[in-house]
């Protein structure tokens, strides 16, 4: 049937084959026939063939190779899902010969632009690793790359791969730690489990023990003390000790301050306790148990108790873990005591575990209720459970002194139970209890002696005999009689009982040799000929010891001491006592044995490792925190510092531009953009005089120094970390700069010219400014390339990290800062606003077009009753949420009265869209203006966001509809990357349009300007037209390329404009999202032809 032409027949055949596989029958004979169909068109046949292939490829390696080419073709498919599935099957075929092919495919897929394909690549890594562990080094490289990925889809899978391939390479995590913490909540649930477990280990190596004081105390205290020692004592002791330990700890170490990253982890995992997935809840619980300060661990109890409603298997695992936790942190679960009460319908293993938890939770206050519960349990029909209950009672009795007598009486009553098992278990427990205070309870011993006639369970008999032997002084009359009975039945007893009979005989011989001498001899003789060598040995040994002969040495003198020494009372312990050295929730913990591949949970480090290792990319995160929480002064100085920083950098970077242009292609590419821009600046207003420039230069230097002083002062204050980081980074850069400057001073001059020209043009455009303001403007101008330094760094790192990252990087004194400090005086606000504007004006090509931002009217002055609102797309990344488009709102109050509490309300959005509202503007005095920034996630659609703009008195319905060009953010690509990506976005995803360029729009500058004005894209520098060196005339038919990504989904948007003679041109847009592509074509067309 497989050879048939009809798909339906093939399908039928494949179904039968799969059914055979499922039943475990061997279908490998059919391999050649099946493999032929791997290229079949029918999807279901194809899938079933894959199933077959993956199952049998290992056995038939040569034939399996036939199918490889199909998958290789699939890897090149434009559809991401087909690429992914091809990679999936390819990597699942366990054939050693194709290892190189797999490696290649994984590497390629790891840099695929579809996150789904990258996820599949991450999945493929452990597969390849298990096939050929020698590839480890290369795989680690791939993992490292994927770890840097920002999408939630990939995170879980790559951490999984990390855990399988190189869990010891904890250094790979550093840079991604904060990102992982922040992404965690959006990762799919299975990924969450893996990431949380990994982060637990990570945190153990990187942070200090938050319970450092307590742990000191534990070391000191728990050595000889049992956990069960009565609570009062312990509490008191603890307090005392705590005081001592605290003082000791104070002396030894600095007071503990939690690392902010540690806090971040705890904060971000907490909501996951609410997950519906038990595995996630458990993972968070263990994280808290292992990492959180004692006071905070309590939050997990509620969630764990909730899991007890789940399936019995889940209960089983959770109870095991709860049992371990209750030993260490009893207080945590005490409020939930009743949740552990046992129902008759629970399976036995659950009952036993619940009992364990109840026992651990018992203390003076609740013991009476617990014992009452236990009493009902004893009547249960489930005998194993009853036995466990009796043991539990015994443990409660040993732990809590007050109830010991009650327990003992209860247990003695059980001795008259009809069920032998119950009696036997009670005897064993009573024996243990009696050992604690035998003198009081001789009547119980007598009672038990009587029981020997009835009880048949060997363990119980042995226990009774031991008891009588041990305390024969308390029951002098009965003991010999018991021995007599036992001697009679000696041959029929079990081994443990026999051993105890010998023991009893020996002890009686020593205390009461008159009555028992003959009996002892008799027993020993019987034992001498026993089948079991243990018993024979014991008999021989004891005979030598106790029966005095001429040969017997010194030992027999001490026989009495040997046998009748005081024995310490046993401690009844929970079987879960020492389990907490395993990571909770792990398989090893459950089995109390190390499972293969288990990663030890490391101990806390003595001193915290350098926290700065995590800093690299963290800028933004910290920045966010600071901007949101800090006082305005601080924000100001931080931003100022940044400005200064940028100022310092500038000459350096222009240096390197000129210098490295000819040699490093990457450099020249990225910088050519800015080069062209500065040129444009000069065109617009070429009136900047050089003298002015130099003045300004010196001025700015002074500024710089002042700033430095200031920051130094600030640094002395205990400010937040970011500052020091920045400054250190900055210093590094300075070093670099110095060396470079010395190399090429002449070049730097010319470059400076360019830039300062543009600056001056800027400053000229605004009239009547005071000195101070000029300075400010200057600084703003300097604030231009926050991304530049980074770019540089990236390049140094083989430019592996895509420049996307830069967007996040842009901390600037930008609009995000201003709205927060809305209580700054409005003039300052406008100043800052000016800054941000000029910022974008001067931003390098990657950022924004040189033209001013187009602003749209949101609320007209008349309809708004004096309140006028305009908005523009600031093209800054919206730092609180990278998926949002930043919208800058400009409020002007033209009315005569003050407007109060400006805020948003009643946001109506299309599905999927989200809005981050701008902070309320408390007061907008008449005639003043204010700015605020809000973020909108348009979900890559041009649907409008509707909301109400409210003042204290009025509400206005307004809506913001984005032009398609604003739904993207610029991306830096090299020409080659651009071409490669373009190659993957052919066909349906490509839209081409011919056009005639407007007469005014034929030079390079205007084209670039118009395109970038229409859409937030960045110019792709091309190596061929050497823009950075103006003297060379541009080629006749230049090609302009622009690249961006949509803000929400991150799909690439590639725009190409090819110019021909006579203003003819061709516009091509490649975008996965066809709707966006079409709209963009329209917009750009309009921009270029108008």
């Amino acid at each position: 049937m497989l050879d048939s032409n009809k798909d339906s027949l093939k399908l039928e055949a494949m179904k039968r084959i799969v059914a055979m596989i499922a039943r475990g029958k061997n279908a490998s004979d059919l391999f050649p026939a099946v493999v032929k169909n791997v290229a079949c068109k029918n999807i279901e046949v194809k899938k079933l063939v894959y199933v077959y292939l993956v199952r049998y490829a290992e056995e038939q390696q040569d034939l399996a190779l036939l199918s490889i080419s199909t998958f290789q073709r699939g890897l090149k498919d434009p559809n991401q899902l087909i690429r992914a599935s091809a990679l999936r099957v390819l990597s699942s075929i366990r054939v050693t010969i194709i290892v190189p092919i797999m490696m290649l495919a994984i590497k390629e897929a790891a840099s695929d632009m579809s996150p789904y394909v990258r996820k599949t690549a991450a999945h493929a890594i452990p597969k390849l690793y298990s096939l050929d562990p020698e590839q480890k080094d290369q795989l680690i490289e791939v993992i490292e790359k994927l770890l840097a990925d920002k999408t939630t889809l990939v995170a879980g899978s790559v951490v999984m791969a990390f855990e399988e391939v190189c869990p010891e390479r904890i250094d790979l995590i550093h840079k991604n730690y904060r990102k992982l913490c922040n992404l965690l909540i959006d990762v799919e649930e299975w990924g969450q489990v893996v990431i949380i477990n990994m982060l637990t280990r990570y945190a153990r190596t990187q942070f200090l023990n938050p319970n450092i004081n307590e742990s000191l105390l534990e070391e000191g205290g728990s050595g000889e003390k049992t956990f069960y020692g009565s609570d009062d004592e312990e509490d008191e002791d603890e307090e005392e000790k705590e005081k001592k330990a605290e003082t000791a700890a104070m002396a030894k170490r600095k007071p503990y301050v939690m690392d902010p990253d540690h806090r971040l982890l705890l904060r971000n995992t907490k909501p996951l306790l609410q997950s519906r997935n038990a595995a996630v809840v458990m993972a968070v619980a263990q994280l808290y148990f292992h990492l959180a300060p004692k006071a905070e661990v309590g939050v997990i109890a509620k969630a764990l108790v909730r899991l007890l409603r789940s399936h019995s298997e889940v209960q089983y695992v959770v109870l095991q873990n709860v049992a371990t936790m209750t030993i260490k942190r009893r207080g945590m679960f005490e409020p939930y005591l009743k949740s552990f009460y046992i129902r008759s319908t629970d399976p036995t293993q659950i009952k036993v575990l619940k009992l364990e938890v109840l026992t651990n939770l018992a203390n003076e206050t609740n013991i009476s209720t617990i014992l009452r519960e236990f009493q009902t349990y004893i009547k249960s029909m489930d005998k194993d459970f009853v036995a466990a209950t009796i043991q539990a009672i015994g443990r409660c009795a040993t732990n809590i002194g007050e109830v010991r007598d009650t327990c003992l009486n209860g247990l003695v009553q059980l001795l008259s139970n009809r069920d032998e098992l119950v009696v036997a278990e009670s005897v064993v427990v009573i024996k243990k209890l009696l050992q604690m205070q035998p003198e009081k309870h001789s009547d119980i011993i007598k009672h038990m002696a009587k029981l020997t006639d009835n009880i048949q369970v060997p363990m119980a008999r042995a226990s009774i005999l031991w008891l009588i032997g041990e305390y024969c002084e308390h029951v002098p009359k009965i003991a010999p009689d018991v021995l007599r009975k036992m001697a009679k039945s000696f041959t029929n007893e079990e081994d443990i009982v026999k051993l105890q009979i010998i023991n009893l005989a020996a002890k009686l011989y020593l205390t009461n040799s008159k009555q028992t001498k003959l009996l002892t001899q008799y027993v020993l003789n019987l034992a001498k000929y026993d089948q079991n060598y243990d018993i024979r040995d014991r008999a021989r040994f004891i005979r030598q010891l106790i029966v005095p002969t001429e040969k017997s040495g010194a030992l027999s003198k001490y026989a009495k001491k040997l046998f009748l020494a005081l024995k310490p009372a046993p401690v009844l312990e929970s079987p879960f006592k020492d389990r907490d050295h395993f990571q909770l929730g792990s398989l090893s913990h459950l089995l109390n044995a190390k499972a293969g591949g288990y990663q030890e949970l490391p101990d806390w480090p003595e001193a915290a490792p350098d926290p700065s290792v995590r800093n690299v990319e963290v800028f933004t995160l910290l920045e966010r925190v600071t901007t949101l929480t800090s006082v305005p002064e601080w924000t100001k100085c931080s931003s100022r510092e940044k400005r200064k920083e940028k100022k310092v950098e500038k000459p350096f970077y222009s240096d390197s531009e000129g210098e490295s242009g000819p040699t490093e292609s990457a450099d020249s590419e990225s910088d050519s953009g800015s080069g062209s821009e500065s040129a444009s600046g000069s065109e617009v207003s070429a009136s900047g005089s050089e003298s002015e420039e130099s003045e300004e230069g010196s001025e700015s230097e002074e500024e710089e120094q002042k700033d430095k002083k200031k920051t130094k002062k600030e640094l002395k204050k205990p400010v937040q970390e970011s500052e020091s980081e920045q400054s250190s980074e900055e210093e590094e850069r300075k070093h670099a700069r110095k060396s470079k400057i010395s190399k090429s001073e002449s070049e730097s001059e010319s470059d400076e010219e360019d830039e300062s020209e543009s600056e001056s043009s800027e400053s000229e455009s605004e009239d009547s400014e005071s000195e101070a303001e000029v300075k400010k403007k200057k600084k703003a101008a300097e604030s231009k390339p926050p991304c530049k330094p980074v770019k540089k760094e990236n390049k140094k790192e083989k430019k592996e990290i895509s420049l996307l990252d830069l967007d996040d990087f842009d901390p600037t004194p930008s609009p995000q800062v201003t709205p927060v400090n809305s209580f700054l005086s409005s003039s300052l606000v406008t100043d800052l606003e000016g800054l941000s504007l000029s910022d974008s004006v001067l931003a390098p090509a990657t950022m924004a077009p040189s033209s001013a931002l187009k602003s749209y009217e949101l609320l007209h002055r008349i309809t708004g009753e004096g309140l006028q609102v305009e908005f523009c797309f600031s093209r800054q990344p919206f730092s609180p949420d990278a998926n949002m488009v930043a919208v800058q709102m400009h409020f002007t109050n033209n009315a005569s009265a003050d407007a109060k509490s400006l805020h948003m309300e009643d946001v109506k959005l299309q599905s999927g869209m989200r809005v981050r509202e701008f902070p309320e503007i408390e007061l907008l005095p008449a005639g003043e203006t204010a700015t605020a920034v809000m973020g909108i996630d348009f979900c890559d659609s041009t649907q409008a966001a509707n909301f109400q703009l409210c003042t204290q008195t009025r509400k206005f319905f307004v809506s913001i509809q984005p032009p398609v060009g604003e739904l993207m953010r610029p991306v830096f690509l090299t020409e080659n990357e651009f071409k490669k990506e373009q190659g993957q976005l052919m066909g349906m995803n490509e839209i081409t349009e011919k056009l005639t360029l407007d007469a005014t729009c034929r030079n390079e500058h205007t084209i670039v300007q118009r395109v970038t004005a229409a859409a937030n894209l960045s110019r792709v520098p091309c190596g061929s037209d050497k823009e950075c060196s103006p003297p060379v005339p541009p080629p006749d038919h230049p090609v302009y390329r622009f690249a961006g990504r949509t803000v929400t989904s991150g799909s690439l948007v590639l725009v190409t404009v090819v110019t021909r003679e006579e203003g003819a041109a061709q516009l091509t847009v490649n975008c996965e999202k066809m709707v966006i592509g079409t709209m963009l074509v329209k917009d750009i067309l309009l921009a270029l032809t108008q």
């Binding site: 798909d7 399908l11 179904k15 799969v18 059914a19 499922a22 039943r23 475990g24 279901e44 899938k47 079933l48 894959y50 199933v51 999936r88 699942s92 789904y116 599949t120 999945h123 298990s130 899978s157 649930e189 299975w190 489990v193 477990n197 909501p271 609410q274 997950s275 519906r276 993972a283 509620k302 909730r306 399936h311 019995s312 298997e313 889940v314 695992v317 009743k338 949740s339 009460y341 129902r343 008759s344 399976p347 293993q349 009902t376 029909m381 009809r418 069920d419 792990s586 398989l587 090893s588 459950l590 089995l591 044995a593 499972a595 990663q599 959005l909 599905s911 999927g912 869209m913 929400t1048």
Partner: protein
């Protein structure tokens, strides 16, 4: 992580196996059978069994053991939770999860397992995504397929996996747009001999059946959200919104799903809606025992207590019973000693009772344990905790959906000790 999966039926046959990595011989299941023999009851098989080279993690559902084979350290709950998810998916696809259903649909099962796990790591477990990949079998589709030879594998490649709302299918269309929510509360209680409550708590869930076109964004608010003490959400619920405003805001998956499960804070006293008067005695020496049981409603706020079912595991010594129910029917299984009494609705005017005698093994001493009584019941149109949904709003789509909310109270693990 998960190497292989074996499905074992009640009689100990392995009727399906699936391997995600190298093949693991099915002889590994021998260890499982050993453990099964040791355990007296089917549910007492330990969920995790270590063997020399592998670990077996099993769950028992619908009298089928799902045994996963793993080789190295992995959180056991991870595997258990996944296996339960597999069972839920099967149930979702085939209506029931029985051996027969699985055997009939072995190809679909295989395709599902293939999609759910890649190299032992979960890939797509959302039922909405799976349904896009593999269409669930229906009678109509099977007929069409046999005639036309078309397949039940989705022609379209799934896009849901790539979107920001992975739980929702794209391109959903309905002519009738409806959203139904069932607030179901269960009372877990243990009542002691004298009728006083030892523990009682209320656990609730909100199950939803949402059939709405497009990408609706729903918000659901409660009149008294403070009642909810501990909640767990479907991943679609926006947690921040809940934290801040106590409002459930979500883009729902398509079809049936559990939106929320909650626990009502224990400070509130739980109203127990039924009471039981019982008198079960065994006399020493005689081979007779007396059995007397009466049920009555209490604190039901005027609502009728329906579908009442009483069951009790009688002691092993009981040979047979001779009982007389005032309403409903009762059965006694002399092998398992399980007594069930299907009461039906409780009429407050005429309380249902079950009276009679039990015959005991002659000569044997009287059983010293008293049976516990498990009760199930339902009360319609009432949530015992008093939880009330305030309103449901939809954003993002133009049409007006039909909305419905239903309340119900059920007995969860409701036990009366005697």
């Amino acid at each position: 992580m998960i190497h292989s999966l074996f499905l074992i039926n009640a009689s100990g046959d392995i009727f399906l196996e699936k391997h995600w990595k190298s093949v693991v011989s099915r002889s590994v299941c021998d260890y499982f059978f050993e453990a099964q023999e040791r355990a007296t009851e089917p549910e007492n098989v330990p969920p995790v069994i270590p063997t020399p080279h592998h670990y077996l993690i099993s769950v028992l559902r619908h009298r089928i053991y799902f045994v996963a084979v793993i080789q190295s350290e992995v959180p056991p709950l991870f595997v258990i939770e996944f296996l339960h998810r597999v069972v839920d998916t099967f149930q979702d696809y085939f209506g029931v999860c029985t051996e027969a259903a699985i055997k009939d649909n072995v190809v679909v099962v295989y395709e599902l397992l293939e999609e759910m796990l890649d190299n032992g790591f979960p890939l797509a477990t959302e039922s909405n995504i799976l349904k896009e990949l593999i269409k669930p079998p229906t009678i109509l589709r099977t007929m069409v397929n046999t005639i036309t030879g078309s397949t039940n594998v989705g022609e379209q490649l799934p896009t849901g996996q790539l979107s920001v709302v992975p739980w929702r299918r794209t391109g959903v269309k309905y002519t009738n747009n409806e959203a139904y929510f069932d607030v179901v509360e269960e009372i877990d209680a243990i009542i002691d001999k004298s009728g006083s409550t030892i523990t009682a708590e209320i656990q609730g869930v909100i199950d939803a059946c949402v059939k709405l076109t497009g990408m609706p964004d729903l918000t659901l608010s409660f009149m008294n959200p403070r009642l909810l003490d501990d909640v767990s959400f479907h991943p679609c619920v926006r947690f921040k919104r809940w934290e801040a405003e106590r409002i459930l805001s979500f883009i729902p998956p398509d079809g049936n799903f559990r939106l929320l499960s909650y626990h009502v804070s224990s400070q509130n006293l739980v109203a127990i809606p039924v009471y039981v008067k019982h008198n079960i005695t065994f006399r020493e020496g005689s081979s007779q025992g007396r059995f007397d049981l009466t049920l009555g409603p209490k604190q039901t706020m005027g609502k009728a207590v329906e579908s009442v079912l009483v069951s009790s595991q009688l002691p092993r010594g009981v040979l047979n019973t001779n009982l007389n129910p005032s309403q409903g029917t009762y059965t006694f299984d002399p092998v398992t000693k399980l007594l069930t009494w299907d009461v039906g609705k409780i009429n407050p005017q005429k309380l249902p009772s079950l009276k009679g005698t039990m015959s005991l093994q002659a000569g044997a001493s009287k059983p010293d344990e008293n049976p516990t009584i498990n009760i199930q019941f339902k009360i319609q149109q009432m949530a015992i905790s008093g939880l009330k949904v305030n309103r449901l709003d939809m954003y993002g789509e133009k049409y007006k959906p039909f909305k419905g909310i239903k309340y119900m109270t059920k007995a969860g693990k409701f036990q009366v000790r005697t």
